[in-house]
Amino acid sequence: MKYSTFNQALVNPLIEPMFFGNSVNVARYDQQRHSIFEKLIEKQLSFFWRPEEVDVSRDRVDFHAMSDSEKHIFISNLKYQTLLDSVQGRSPNIAFLPIVSLPELETWIETWSFSETIHSRSYTHILRNLFGDPSEVFDDIMVNDEIKKRATDISKYYDDLIFHTQLWQTQGEGDITIDGETYTVTPRELKKKLFLCMNSVNALEAIRFYVSFACTFAFAEREMMEGNSKIIRLIARDENLHLTSTQHILNLWQYGEDDPEMQEIAEELKDEALAIFTSAVEQEKKWAHYLFKNGSMIGLNEQMLCQYVEYIANLRMAAIGLEPQYDQTSNPLPWMNKYLVSDNVQVAPQEAEISSYLVGQIDSEVSATDFGDYDL
């Protein structure tokens, strides 16, 4: 099934499945099979921001006043986030665009991935301010074992899907032998790989960022590294939106609102989906251990962070129909929420930003409650 950048067959995108149907031809957004992706594109565009808008110059003073263990926590988290966004800035495009079949979903994937590149650019912005030459930090990402362990786990499902899609698109279905190794390529196998990959991406967006977010906001609670915290709040808001999109995809499959075969696969691979999630939770707890190996920081320790990972994992699991696995049902870090409320996000001090703001548009939505005060 050779990929074409403009599929000339007449196809009706209102009846195509999200993935593995006919490839997209006309990029049109006046009609959608799944209108949610069009809405997510609009929302993501309304969130647009640039790292340079946030003044991080005061952070340099704060950083130099930190203890060595706090510096380790701060820099390690930035390295991990750099890894996550390096992957996310390209992988949804490379893995999902060759197999997507709906124009609104295709553009959502591109919009999503683009916003991750803004996150990557903001890490350079933050690090450039802290160090004259941030190369040492970036170079360590490629040799640091703790980071590399996570990189393997994060990229393996993407890589597997990408490789098998390439085999399918160049050689077709069947047993294909490359360098002495045989791979079975069938539409069903490809869909299974897609399902596992989507679960892995969902777990990434759902919990992998949150240990790092918690440390950033714990510094902000002490009025330290506030420029960095403003940037991370913008990133957290974007990530919440990305998570919503993977939750939509998984739920649409599960409820049979898209490809019926994907509904079967979702049922068949439920245990594997759960295992992907719980293994991400365990990795994040190990990451918390690594962060605090030289000592804690004020207001946060390994135990609290692990409880937070479990708390948030329970919420995220329920959102995709997985049974919550952890005892932690209350939020051990209640102050986190004020940094995650989207309308509190503020860029420049003079510009309190409202997330529903859209350039050149007015809010034309009227609900019955708007007339609550009128008597006729």
Partner: protein
């Protein structure tokens, strides 16, 4: 004057909300002392997802988060009838 609506959460918290409330259901829950889960408070993240055991709600903003069957997003809805919730 319409009668206030009764909201029961996790079978242990019971409170009343005005029939035409300006506050979101999430705000009402918080005012009643429920330790509510939330992040975005604008309907796109889904962190406040709550199970609706009985009753009816109306959305003031269309939620972007996926609302699974039997669930509601209290940050963007108000009560239309007496409610029983699991949060």
């Amino acid at each position: 004057m319409t009668k206030p609506l009764r909201v029961k959460v996790n079978s242990d918290v019971l409170f009343e909300v005005p029939a035409q409330s300006d506050a979101s259901l999430l705000q009402s829950m918080e005012q009643a002392g429920v330790e509510a889960h939330f992040h975005c408070r604008s309907g796109f993240c889904g962190a406040c997802r709550t199970h609706l055991i009985s009753g009816e709600v109306a959305y003031t903003t269309e939620p972007l988060a996926y609302v699974r069957r039997g669930d509601i997003l209290p940050c963007v809805c108000v009560a239309l009838s007496d409610l029983e919730l699991e949060h």
